[in-house]
Amino acid sequence: MCFDPNAIRCVNTCVCLAGFADLRCPDNVSVDSLNTRYVLRWDWPHESAVNQTVTFTVQYLASHEKYWTSMCVDVLEHRCDFTAAELHYLALYLLRVRANTSQRSSGWVQIRFCPDKHAALGPPSSVRLRSVKGHLEIIITDPVTSSNQSMKTLLDNNLRYLIQYWRRSEEPKKAKVLQTENNVVMLTDLDRQTWYCVRVQSRYDFYNKISVFSDTHCTRTEGQMPYWQIFLYFLISLLLSFLLVVLLSFCCYKMFTLLKNTFCPAIQLPDHIQELWLSDSEKPQLLAPESPESVCELLVMVSAELDAVAVDEHSNTEDQDSSTHGRHGSGDSGVYSTEEDSGHRSDLQMSSRKHREELHDGTLLEL
């Protein structure tokens, strides 16, 4: 029995003892693992040499047990998942695999497997970054087993974290490094108002197990604003409010002048028109109110010869009348006559004068 320490131990790496008639043994038998997920993998490149379907059987043995336990029986793929076997993390196991056809089988290829030594470690299951008053708080969640427990329960507090942090503007190569066992870490000694990036790796130092890095998370540190920035913001807001006030007062002024011009105009109407405005009548009155006596009077047009003398004779006596009746007698007074026709004119004037007197009775009396 290979577990007997006194026996010659031939198996640490893979050994396959096969006879000539048997199938070839699987090659490259190894365990692909992450935390508590274990997958046994192997190669068997001789498919073409065999006409039948080749299946594989995988078994495992705990150290103190006497009988092998089968894990994968007659599987076609070149892998076997041991996660369901719930192997004890600290214990030592033997895993073995062989190829089968319906008639033949290969020898067993056996390897030792101790998860504590051989299983790869995963990165932290989550990394949260928070900016706290100029410092950065990193909250790390442990890598978990296949049953969602923390790996710390299996590694017995040997699990440590390596935190890398750098300024986002710089390269990750210039990163600072911090090792811790805690799940909550506060990064101090950082620049304010700067973007920092962080990533975390798990480590199990006893067997030099190092995980891949977690995702990179970046955030900006808070901090007090520099004084010049505060002053600049103050100046800008001052300027803006000043411009706003100027604009408002300008608008108000414009509004005021508009209203003033609308309701209290500078240019006034003439007095006589204003009197009309203030009088009771509604319509603008440019003429005197209608009187029974008609404004319009008939104009008698006589010939110029007859009126010539009459005009000379009456020019002096009619001056007063013509001046008062300027409107009405304008046609007659403007008619001049020559000396030749003075006789006619006088007759005409006599007749026209009669007319005038007749016609002007009303008006003369009125005046």
Binding site: F3, P5, I8, R9, C10, V11, N12, T13, V15, L17, G19, A62, S63, H64, H88, L90, A91, L92, Y93, C114, D116, K117, H118, D156, N158, F206, Y207, N208
Partner: protein, 182 residues
């Protein structure tokens, strides 16, 4: 023909052994502590009904005591020997079903793993003249336990006595010999 081939291969591999890990030839305190916790929690406290069946077994304190630093290797070898003896106690018998099977399985596996890991201690070149006396004390102790187990016919209380003794031994090593372990 096959036998010759096997012998040849075995000889070759025995000489060409490749350990995939760094050979830390040192006992691990955390593994021993874990072993203690497992066997402690696999069952309960020592049952009252077994008190009358309890035998007085002298604990080999001298096997684990060291007067000076020269005796460190001797103590290391004694601890290794203890682990081997513990494993041997249960080797030929079925697992007692009075305890938590999962924890008991893990305990057995862990003890064996420690034996495999620490085997190199026995091949340490440092002289350990004190070791033969330690080995003798341990051998006597475990033989007493084994015979008590057989006398009591592997009953419930017999196993509890064995478990109690193992707990006592591991506790003593953890309390007094932590300095030689990693």
């Amino acid at each position: 023909m096959d036998l010759q081939r096997v012998a040849l291969l075995c000889t070759f591999f025995c000489f060409a052994q490749v350990w995939s890990l760094p050979t830390n030839c040192i006992l691990r305190k955390d593994l021993l502590k874990r072993s203690y916790t497992l066997i402690e929690t696999a069952g309960g406290l020592f049952p009252v009904q077994c008190l009358k069946e309890n035998v007085a077994i002298t604990f080999p304190q001298n096997a684990f005591e060291s007067a000076n630093t020269d005796q460190v290797t001797g103590v290391e070898k004694a601890v290794y020997q203890t682990l081997e003896n513990i494993d041997a106690l249960f080797e030929n018998y079925n697992d007692p079903d009075q305890w938590d099977a999962k924890k008991w399985n893990e305990f057995r596996g862990l003890v064996y793993r420690q034996i495999v890991d620490s085997k190199c201690i026995m091949s340490k070149s440092e002289a350990a003249q004190d070791f033969p006396s330690r080995e003798a004390s341990l051998k006597k102790y475990f033989e007493t336990i084994s015979s008590a187990l057989k006398e009591k016919d592997f009953r419930y209380c017999a196993w509890e006595i064995v478990r109690n003794e193992i707990l006592r031994t591991l506790k003593f090593i953890l309390d007094h010999n932590s300095d030689i372990m990693l």
